[in-house]
């Protein structure tokens, strides 16, 4: 059937902007034709998300030079002649996205698995209640009542395990009798995905008060997670209950050819597709206006975290508050009055859609982005761990090592690819700015490929992947993913100013060898579509992927940036005095051709 789909329109209704892309079947396969955007309209005077959708599609229609919206104001499907499209799909995070409360018996086991299921489904987790979270029951009840989530995920107990604790949690939720955030006319959806033997007790406590649904246990045994049934149920309920309450969503639902997907769920879908198809470990990051989502696939395990209040517009003031002034200013190559900076950030918070038109303003915004990204990855590493509570058989070295279960699985040395998405990365005026924001904040180790989502279309491709995987993959490879290049970052130090490593690159125009010293940040051009074999011989005690002092080789893809040779250390070491720091940053700006030269 795929060959019959001639054109696809996909929109993503973000909290600030609604983005639309038009994909058409060409002689080369499916290609992105044009994109358009318009402000999201879930607030007065419009109060209807479809107004923003039609505005964005109208822009697409003008740019494509063919009609997509009919005289009745509806998107025309299927395509007839030159008018309309065969498929219309949408994702959404407008209206605050999906806000969930999760509950489980043990904080680090079933509750954490429930959190992973909710996050994987694209939710923002407002709180996690567990039997051992150190809060008194009345405090937990007060919290549940106060939060007014869109949905609750209740888990607890492995199959055949505790029933009384699960029943107790269900009773707490029942006693709180929580009201949904949107609309008072419907019952709050509760998904139970815990011990099968506690189902009757959960039904007794919740069936009369909530819209209870029961799915397979998400942690059937201690060493097994089964998150898909809970995730699928969350998706369905999101469509059925939550979306229906947001302004205009009923209309949007009736327009689309497939269910509207929560934006982060769609991005997660495409990140997993990349990791699977290429057999690599990936970190994806989507830095938005209100939140920053981090996705990772290591050892075939997918994780997603949402840093709910780290974003570039609505939450920008919180980035400053969380990171601290000093951490933000360390990336800025000029003096700025603290009070002026604080006012500037607060003004962005209250007028979130403004954009920098001055280079200094752009540099401040990119400094804040580095901190938002850095803090988001810290949160992600803390969450993306091995299953806790699993009994492991250990060999003698592990026993001495004392490393138990629950270690982070995010291994920056094993990381193959970082993909950045979101306005500040996708729309950075120079791609090298996006590359350096990713390197400065994530500090990849060894040799790591860097890419960005060219025009921020991963959400739309994620939802497309669920309907037309072939089209999604073709557009992703050709039009979405922009390879920036690779970062080579040795880990460790040397004494007496000796180089950290000798890097030899077999470039298309010949081999080049560079001695990389501490504090260096260099850029070696390697264009889009080109590859180079990179051999790194590190100094004693310095690691680039094969162990301390061991040479390492890898073939890297080129891109709009090329190869970044980063000798600034891991963790990254910036000069401590203001003058030295500013001088170093100015040097890196020059080496990388990071910003336009000021006249």
């Amino acid at each position: 059937m795929t060959d019959k789909i001639r054109s696809i329109l996909a929109t993503d209704c973000g909290s600030t902007t609604t983005k639309a892309i038009l994909i058409e079947l060409t002689d080369e396969g499916y290609r992105l034709k044009v994109r358009g955007e318009a402000p999201t309209t879930v607030e007065k005077p419009f109060d209807d998300v479809t107004v923003g959708v039609v505005n964005a599609v109208t822009e697409v229609q003008e740019l494509a030079g063919r009609p997509l919206v009919g005289e009745d104001g509806l998107i025309m499907t299927p395509q007839q002649g030159d008018a309309g499209v065969d498929l219309y799909l949408s994702t959404s995070s407008a209206g605050g996205g999906l806000q969930m409360l999760v509950a489980g018996v043990v904080r680090t086991m079933t509750a954490e698995s429930a959190e992973r299921a909710a996050l994987g489904a694209g939710a923002i987790v407002m709180d996690t209640i567990s039997s051992n979270d150190k809060r008194q029951p009345h405090e937990q009840i007060a919290r549940i009542r106060h939060l007014r989530p869109d949905m609750i995920l209740l888990s607890g107990g492995v199959d055949g395990g505790t029933t009384s604790h699960v029943a107790e949690l269900a009773e707490l939720i029942g006693a709180a009798d929580p009201k949904p955030r949107l609309g008072s006319g419907y019952e709050l959806p509760v998904v139970y995905a815990g011990n099968v033997q506690a189902r009757d007790a959960v039904k007794e406590a919740l069936e009369a008060k909530t819209a209870l649904s029961i799915v397979d246990n998400l942690r059937p045994t201690l060493d097994e997670e089964n998150l898909d049934p809970a995730r699928d149920q969350i998706h369905d309920l999101f469509m059925e209950h939550v979306m229906a309450q947001a302004p205009g969503y009923d209309k949007l639902k009736s327009w689309t050819s497939a269910p509207v997907m929560p934006t982060p769920g769609a991005v997660g879908q495409i990140i997993q597709t990349i990791a699977k198809q290429r057999g690599i470990s990936v970190i994806g990051v989507d830095i938005g206006g209100a939140t920053t989502d981090v996705f990772s696939v290591f050892k075939d395990t997918f994780n997603r975290t949402v840093s709910a209040n780290l974003g570039m517009s609505y939450s920008i003031s919180n980035v400053m508050a969380s990171a601290g002034l000093e951490n933000v200013l360390r990336w800025v190559p000029f003096d700025i009055d603290e009070s002026e900076l604080r006012n500037r950030i607060k003004n962005k918070m209250v007028r979130p859609t403004t954009i920098p038109s001055l280079i200094r303003d752009l540099q401040v915004e990119q400094a804040l982005a580095r901190e938002a990204l850095r803090l988001s990855l810290i949160q992600h590493k803390e969450f993306a761990t091995e299953l806790k509570g699993v009994r492991k058989s250990r060999d003698i070295s592990e026993a001495f090592d004392q490393s138990g279960s629950g270690n982070t699985i995010v291994d920056m040395m094993a990381l193959d690819l970082v993909v950045g998405s979101g306005g500040v990365l996708s729309h950075a005026p120079r791609r090298v700015q996006a590359a350096l924001m990713l390197v400065d904040s994530f500090e990849p180790m060894g040799i790591t490929a860097l890419a960005v989502d060219s025009i921020f279309m991963m959400p739309q491709l994620g939802v497309l992947a669920s309907e037309q995987p072939e089209a999604a993959t073709e557009v992703f490879e050709r039009d979405c993913l922009v390879m920036l290049g690779a970062c080579v970052a040795p880990v460790g130090t040397t004494k007496g100013g000796k180089p950290l490593a000798e890097v030899t690159m077999d470039l298309p125009d010949g081999a080049k060898t560079v001695g990389l010293s501490r504090g260096d940040l260099l850029r070696v051009p390697l264009g889009q579509g080109e590859t180079a074999r990179v051999r790194v011989v590190p100094a004693k005690g310095v690691d680039v992927g094969a162990g301390p002092g061991q040479p390492f080789e890898k073939t890297v893809d080129g891109g709009e940036v090329g190869i970044l040779l980063d000798g600034r250390g891991r963790p990254l070491q910036l000069p401590t005095t203001a003058n030295e720091r500013v001088a170093a940053i100015e040097q890196w700006i020059e080496n990388l051709d990071l910003y336009p030269r000021r006249s």
């Binding site: 009773e171 003004n347 005026p429």
Partner: protein
């Protein structure tokens, strides 16, 4: 000639405003359609279910949850007093009986036979909703609340803090470009909605609190002063529940920014009249801006560009980001093609003629519509 969708803040002396005054849970509506209400009129009332306190009776008595039925001294649904015995174990040969007592006064709502947990519900908590603004009850949502319909002057601010209040308008500064000083806040301003100038620093904000000013409407504040006033650094702009003793409406933004001439003029013209003020701000989807509402006799409602969100050539706009932050101007061109900025970003732009005649090119995202003719 192009147009663009651009948000703006409503500032009008001929606006219609309908405020939905709704209970969080079903209750009783105390007024009827057509009634005239004042800001302090209670329009609806409900009883929130009381707080919940739990006690695990099975653990307290050292018995299985399934056995609790026979041990209860008080049945589900009964009223209990704090420390009243509610269950007792049988002990050993009638000795060493354990007694579980009620942890609070209220009702024994339920006892679980699975977990052994007893849930006690305290007395209901009354909740009242006031009219907030003077007007006519135009619609009753039975059991939930009412819509209050009113007309008059409406000023939306960009940011605010503090709850809904009402009081007579007093003007502290005739000059919208002059910072408001502590000495401008007089004892006679107690209970008023005070209208100031371009900025109120922390000492002025504190003077307002000390003198009992109910609400302050001012052009700008300093971010560091806001942190001092609140006692924490506000991370996201979701406000309205602050209890600093003052409701604050900032009309222009952070920093020293002259209050818009129209805002100052409209509020000055209403001096002495009762204004309803809310500091609640939510800059997320479902955006809420702080507001000042002054009901008055209006026959013709003014439809403005801000209402439509549509910007044309000749629209008046405020520049909302550096350079020229805070300046007003007239749109002279809305070219369709993207333009490359100094940052090298290619974006849609507009050109604006500033008051001094200078023409500037700006990203469209960096202006907002203003209901004011230049």
């Amino acid at each position: 000639m192009g147009h663009a969708y651009t948000p703006g803040l409503k500032v009008s002396d001929a606006a219609e405003f309908v405020r939905h005054r709704i209970l969080p849970i079903p209750g009783e509506v105390l007024v009827k359609q057509g009634d005239t209400v004042e800001p302090e009129t209670v329009v609806a009332r409900a009883l929130l279910p009381g707080n919940v306190v739990t006690a695990n009776l099975a653990r307290l008595l050292g018995v299985a949850a399934a056995d609790l039925d026979d041990l209860m001294l008080v049945q589900e649904g009964a009223a209990v007093e704090k420390d009243q015995p509610i269950a007792q174990s049988k002990g050993i040969f009638g000795f060493m009986k354990q007694t579980a007592k009620a942890p609070t006064t209220g009702e024994l709502e339920s006892v679980s036979k699975v977990s052994g947990q007893a849930i006690f519900r305290e007395a209901p908590i009354p909740v009242e909703v006031k009219a907030y603004v003077g007007g006519i009850v135009s619609e009753v949502e039975e059991g939930f609340g009412v819509h209050v319909d009113s007309r008059g002057t409406m000023v939306q601010g960009i940011f605010g803090i503090g709850p809904e209040v009402s009081g007579p308008i007093a003007v502290a500064s005739d000059d919208p470009a002059r910072p408001l000083m502590p000495q401008d806040v007089k004892p006679e301003h107690a209970g008023t909605v005070l209208v100031g100038g371009s900025m109120a620093r922390l000492d002025t904000l504190k003077a307002c609190v000390d003198k009992g000013v109910k609400a302050l409407v001012v052009g700008g504040i300093d971010a560091a002063d806001l942190k001092q006033l609140l006692g924490y650094d506000l991370g996201v702009a979701i406000t309205g529940n602050e209890t600093v003793g003052l409701t604050l409406v900032v009309t222009e933004g952070f920093g020293q920014l002259a209050m818009s001439g129209k805002t100052h003029r409209l509020l000055s013209e209403r001096a002495g009249q009762t204004a309803s003020v809310s500091g609640a701000t939510q800059i997320r989807a479902g955006v809420m801006r702080p507001e000042v509402l002054v009901p008055s006799e209006i026959h013709q409602i003014e439809e403005t560009e801000v209402d439509t969100g549509l910007m044309h050539v000749n629209s008046t706009v405020r520049i909302i980001r550096d350079p020229h932050f805070g300046e007003l101007g007239r749109v002279t061109d809305l070219p369709a093609e993207p333009h490359v900025l100094d940052t090298e970003a290619a974006v849609r732009i507009l050109t604006v003629a500033l008051k001094d005649g200078e023409h500037v090119t700006l990203p469209r995202a960096n202006v907002e519509l203003v209901d004011e003719r230049l």
